[in-house]
Each structure stands twice: as C-alpha cells, then as structure tokens.
Amino acid sequence: MQSLKKILLGEQGLVVIFALAFVLVSITVPNFLTERNMLGLLQSVVTIGIVSCTMMFCLASRDFDLSVGSTVAFSGMVAVMASNSTGSILLGLLAAITCGAIVGVINGVVIARFRINALITTLATMQIVRGFALISSDGRAVGINDPAFYDLALTRILGVPAPVWVMGLFFVLFGFVLNRTVFGKNTLAIGGNPEAARLAGVNVVTMRIWIFALQGLVCGVAGILLASRITSGQPNAATGLELSVISACVLGGVSLAGGRAAMTGVIVGVLIMGIAENVMNLLNIQAFYQYVVRGMILLLAVLLDNLRVSAATMSRR
C-alpha cells in the first residue's frame, strides 16, 4: 500500500497511471489495440500534440495563450487560399506560417512590452483572428484546388502518416529545446520567478516575445496539417482547441504557476486526451458524454498533482 502510494505520487506517477490505463483499455476494449486504430488515434491528436509543444513553453514561463485555436483555423485558411490563388503550395505554406508567427509576435509584444495581462490579450486576439478567418472566407469552407496539398496528410513514411511524424519530430525538438538549450532553461527561470530571472540577466521581455512568436508559428504548422487532413480551409476549425491543449499540458504536470514542465509529461497528457476520446468512440458512447469525461480527467489529474505536491512537501519537512 505504502509503496503503491509512493509510485503513484512520485515523479513518474502519471506515466505509471497512463501505462496501467493503456493496458486495461487494450484488454477490455475491442478493436483498440489494432494498428489501424492506433494510427487513427495518433492522427486525431496531431493538432493538440503539436500545439501543446509551444503551449508548454508558454505556461512554463507563466504565460497563457487562448488564441491558438483561432490561429490554427486562420493559418489553415491562409494556406488554402494562398496556394489556390498563387498556384504554389510552398508559397501557401510559407504564407500560413508567416501569418501564424505574426499573430504570435503581436501577442508577445502586447503582453511583454506593454505589460497587458496574457489572458485578456489572447482572449482579444482569439476573437480578432477568428474574425479574420471568417471574413477572408466569407464564413464558408474553402476547398483545396491542387490535390498535392492533400498529400501532406496522406503521405505515409514507414506506414505512418506524415502529420504523425511531424508531431513526433516536434516532441523531440521541443523536448530538446526545453532541457538542453539556454532558451528552455530561461523559459523555466522566468516562470519560476520573473523578477529574479530579470535581475539574473535574463532578457525577459525578448524571451516572452519569442515564446509567443514560436507558439504562433507552430499554430501555423498545425493549421496547415489540419487543412490538408480535412481537405479544405474551415473558418470554424479547431474551436475549443486552446482548452484541450491547456488541459493536455496541465495533465502532463506543467504548472500553471510556471517554472515546471516536462515534455514526456505533455506527451502523456496529449495521449490520455486522445485515448479517452478514442475509447468512447469505439464503445459508441454519445459525443456529449465526452465533454464530461474530458473535464473529469482534467480535474482528477489536477487533484493528483495537488496530492503529489503536498506529499513532496511532507517528506521534506
């Protein structure tokens, strides 16, 4: 009993719970552990997974970004419309990523330079950018002209769809950035104590702008992959994405108070969100219940984290 408690409340508690849940689901849910379902599951979390990478940095530096869903939709829109009008997919992709990055830079400058609360700022840009997506398409979906665009999502490498590879690449890349670069270390330091980090020589304002810019850029990539998968630019795509992404990060042990984050945790968080949805689909549970389940998983994860922190405090004193 004591050792079980230790495992569950230890550093790797979430991973252990995830592994147990995975095994349990594999045994009990039919058709879960099949290659087809696994790939489908991974594909379904690509958007959340990719955006979670940079949201992790945002949260770890004590910031917040609600505009990611809108940015994903808008940049997907831009990708489709720009490649349709120029006839060049590459130009379309560049335009999408640039637009995403611009949204991020604007967020960053307003928040870091003008010291406006991140919640308010991104709540505003969330609506503005969603508005742009609707205006540019007149509220309708825009189909892709060049079929080569679909191939982005359809190409398989070693049997695995390209978007999943991109997600994996981002996990590795941002895990490396977080742990092995000055940028990552400074992000955590800012989240741990912004004023102390500033007085220790960290350029906090520039760092925060960079983090938001990266977030926007990565939303651009996610938007492109999403548009390719749904074969069109949808102005209403990715609504509520910001909440799923933040949930996944928090599930993964990223502290909302800043200063603590781990890529493995976020990956597990993303997968837990994906598995919950996938299992409910397999079991033909009505979609409405999925909201309830997702909310409950998040609450449980936060409660668990709380227990873990107080357990750590107890053993220290």
């Binding site: 742990n179 092995r180 670069t181 000055v182 940028f183 990552g184 270390k185 400074n186 955590l188 330091a189 989240g191 741990g192 104590n193 004023e195 102390a196 980090a197 500033r198 007085l199 220790a200 020589g201 960290v202 350029n203 502290s255 800043g258 200063g259 603590r260 107890m314 053993s315 220290r316 004193r317």
Partner: protein
C-alpha cells in the same frame, strides 16, 4: 513555580527531522520573554504549536495552570493565544475597523452595525495607544502601522498571550520604537509576550527572560536576562564560541573601480555621486525609505535611470539593463531574496548557472556536465549546505540561498563590483560570519564591494567606509577610523535635532 504560560516536554517531529524534542520552559505573567535560536532551531515549530496551527506529538501547553487542547488557530484565539506572523494576515482592501472585526462582524439580522463597528474599534485603539484611523483602508497603511493593527486585533480578542515572530524585520527604527512602547503597555496590562527575534539588541532591550533553542532542543533558559551577556547567548545559539561575528580584516585599496556620477531615477529624484576603490568595502546605511535600495536598483540597471553614468575601471557601462551591467562586471545580490533573487521552483544547480551559462553554451546549447561541475565547485567553495546540486533551492536555509546567489555571480568570470543589499537579512549567526569572511576575501582579491544594510552594527562591523543616506540623498560620509554610532544614526534621521536614546 506558577508560570502563566508553560511548555511541558513538548515534542514535534516531521518525516526525517525531529523539529522539537522535549522542550520545557515557563513564562511569568506580564513578562516579555525572548525566544532565540538559529534558523531551524525549532522556534517556528514551537510558535506553530502555540498558535494551534499544528499539534504536538507529545507534551502540553499550559495557560494559567490548565492544559490547552486546542486543535485549530480559532481554538487558540478562544483560549486567548494569538500569534502575529512575519507575513501579516490582514485583508488590504478592507478598513482597519473591518479587519479588526473580521470573522465576527457586529450585525443585527445580518445587517452591519456600522456605528458599533467604528466606535468600539476607536476606543480599543486609543486604549492601547495605537494611532491609526479606524476607517482607513489597510492597503494605505505602512508596514509598521499594519503590524499595530494586528496587535490591536489581538487586544480586541482579549489575548492573554501574544507571540510576535520577527516583528521588526521589516520595520524602520522609528516604527520599531513605537512597537517597543506598545509592547511595554501590553506588558503593564499583564499580557504575556513571546518575542521571537534574530536581533540580540532588541531582545536584550525588551525582554525580561529568554529561552534559547538549538537543534530542536532547549539550549538555555534564562529567567533573568540582566545576568547574562550577549556573547554568552550567541555561543548558546551556535553551540560554539564566536568571539567576534564581524571578523573584520583590513585591506589595501587600489585604484577607483566604480565611479557613479549623477545617478537619478523616478524614485530617487536627486542625483547621487560616489566612488569605490578596488579592494574597498563601502557601506550604505539609512532608514527604510532613505533611498538605498532604489539607488542600488538604478545602479544595476534594474530600474530605468533618468540621469547618470556608471563607470567601471574607466569604461562607462551601457545604461539601464541588468545584462549590460553583468557583462561589465557589476552584479547585484538583491535585498528581497525570495522575490528578486532565487528561482524558487528550480534546483541549486540551475540557480547558480542561470547567468554564467551563456559563457559556455555554444549556440545556446546547454552543457549539463559543465553546469554540474560549476555547481559542485561553488557548493564546495562557498560551503553551501545542500543534499545535492539537484535540490530545489526553496528547501535551503536563507544563508545557503544567499550563498547560491553569490555563487551565481562568482561563476561570472569577471566580476569587478559586487553590490549586496542586506547581505544577512534572515540569516543565522553562523552563516553570517561565513558570508562576511567571503566578502573580505573577494575584496582582498581586488573586487569593489558595496554593502547596503539597515543594521548599523553590521555596516559598522564589516565596511571600510560608510555613506549615510536620508531622504534620497547622501547626507554624510564616515571613514572606518571615525565610526561613531550616534553620529551615523543622527545623519540617518530626517531631522538631525531629533533626540536619540
């Protein structure tokens, strides 16, 4: 012996540490009793048990002969025991009167009785001689006034025992004086005061009796404080003889290292000039609000300057940014370590490497082995007491946190000017001496050091020269040979004719 407040064989353990072991002592009615000890000696634990916040594993607390069995802070209130913590527990957006009534507002059928709310408070405040407007918002009060309000709250609840935990740590000398006279009035009313402090001067001035804790055990109990000496108390706290905690060592001074010209900013409108030589330790002394810390922040570039030039070894430092100052060899150990110094959620290693890692991280890639070496080097060199370099810094004592911040700066290869604001605030005696010794070593190696402190004995004890600040200006300068406590103090007071004790 019928002591009013008695602790009987009190023990309390936390996983891995016996915080309090078999501690017994008593305090007479109407006495001011000092409680001293180094950090981790068990003072806070004892206070926590007394406040009802936590329960003892064994032993009793007796008040007026009867065993107290309270299990919460509220129970302790009811029993007349009130603990006033370092972090004050008032609601800033409410008025003084509302704070004093909080939890039991006078009301008729749920409607506030506003008249009674104010009138009763006014009477009580006058009664204990506290000069605060009952309808003022707490947010508008100074820290000293807020503390008065806390004490008034204790009086409102008819407290029989009031424990004060480091009450003067954020008060100016003037505010401290007001606090001391209030304590004297409470004492005259028969209230027992338990006075927890690091400051020997205060304890010797205020207290009738004294208990010293060390490593959770009773190290000494002195029913009559007039019969012992300060050095005796210090050695009881530390467990070894410390003859002179300053350990001042004279040094030769070299060329002018730091030259500050015309420095001013929004919170320090009148320009300031001074210089420090290589190997010199310059002290800045002044009361709270004299502008010392404002000056420090301007110097380091933490706040933006209005005017001014900072020159190190003849080269002007690019203005207004901590990174520029650090690159020029000017570093700051800030006054408020918790808020401005340490990154709480990160390890000792990361707190040391945060600035210097840019020097050995090619293309922004962190070198874990080099960071570990760096951390281990300074943990050894500065004798930082930590289980490992991976330990989160919040779990270290104040003294060790200060050493980590010093390590952070020493890891920068070329520090020429070290500015250290309140070097030993909240740090116990043993670690203090170590930090002083380190400052002498650094100065002897040619660094120019600026020490800012509100503790006059410390400034006088460790510096070569003192500049006194008052009202945002440097009012006087003293060379070490001419140090005089009274003159330095009088230069620090806004009105020099003000009478001094």
């Amino acid at each position: 012996m019928s002591d009013f407040l008695q602790f009987r064989a009190l023990s309390k353990g936390y996983p891995g540490v016996q915080a309090l072991a078999d501690v017994s002592f008593g305090v007479a009615r109407g006495a001011v009793h000092g409680l001293m000890g180094e950090n981790g000696a068990g003072k806070s634990t004892l206070i926590r048990l007394l406040s009802g916040d936590q329960r003892a594993d064994a032993g009793d607390i007796l008040i007026d002969g009867s065993v107290q069995t309270y299990a919460s802070v509220r129970d302790a209130f009811e029993a007349g025991v009130i603990v006033i913590h370092q972090e004050l527990q008032l609601v800033p957006e409410l008025t003084v009167a509302e704070n004093l009534w909080l939890g039991r507002f006078p009301a008729r059928a749920g409607v506030l009785d506003r008249k009674r709310l104010l009138s009763e408070v006014g009477a009580r405040l006058r009664d204990v001689g506290i000069d605060v407007n009952p309808s003022a918002k707490v947010a508008s009060l100074s820290i000293g006034e807020r503390q008065m309000v806390e004490i008034a709250k204790a009086v409102m609840l008819d407290a029989r025992v009031i424990a004060l935990d480091e009450p003067t740590s954020s008060l100016s000398s003037k505010e401290s004086e007001i606090l001391f006279s209030l304590i004297a009035r409470l004492k005259a009313r028969g209230t027992v005061i338990l006075y927890v402090s690091h400051r020997l001067d205060e304890v010797f001035r205020l207290c009738d009796s004294l208990t010293v804790l060390r490593d959770g055990k009773l190290a000494a109990h002195h029913p009559d404080l007039s019969r012992i000496t300060r050095d005796q108390v210090i050695s009881e706290m530390v467990g070894r003889e410390i003859t002179n905690i300053w350990g001042y060592r004279a040094r030769l001074h070299g060329e002018v290292r730091l030259k500050v010209e015309n420095l001013s900013g929004d919170r320090l409108p009148r320009p300031i000039d001074f210089e420090v030589r290589a190997g010199e330790i310059l002290g800045f002394f002044g009361l709270i609000g004299a502008g010392r810390s404002e000056m420090t922040r301007l110097l380091f570039g933490a706040d933006s300057r209005r005017t001014g030039r900072v020159v190190i070894d003849g080269r002007a430092v690019a203005p207004d940014s901590p990174p520029a100052s650090i690159r020029a060899g000017l570093v700051l150990c800030p006054e408020d370590r918790k808020h401005d110094g340490i990154i709480q959620s990160r390890s000792v290693e990361e707190n040391i490497a945060i600035s210097a890692r840019r020097l050995f991280s090619p293309f922004g890639l962190v070198q874990p082995r080099k960071e570990a070496e760096l951390a281990d080097r300074f943990i050894g060199q500065l004798r930082i007491r930590t289980p490992s370099r991976q330990q989160d810094i919040v779990h270290l004592s104040g003294g060790n946190q200060q050493k980590v911040i010093l390590g952070r700066w020493l890891a920068e290869a070329g520090v020429r000017v070290l500015v250290i604001d309140e070097p030993t605030r909240g740090i116990d005696v043993g670690a203090k001496s170590e930090i002083y010794a380190l400052l002498y070593d650094l100065a002897a190696a040619g660094m120019a050091i600026v020490v800012i402190s509100s503790e006059l004995p410390e400034v006088m004890g460790i510096t070569d020269r003192i500049q006194v600040m008052c009202g945002g200006q440097i009012t006087r300068q003293f060379e070490r040979a001419a140090y005089d406590e009274r003159e330095i103090l009088s230069a620090a007071f806004p009105d020099t004719r003000q009478s001094l004790p």
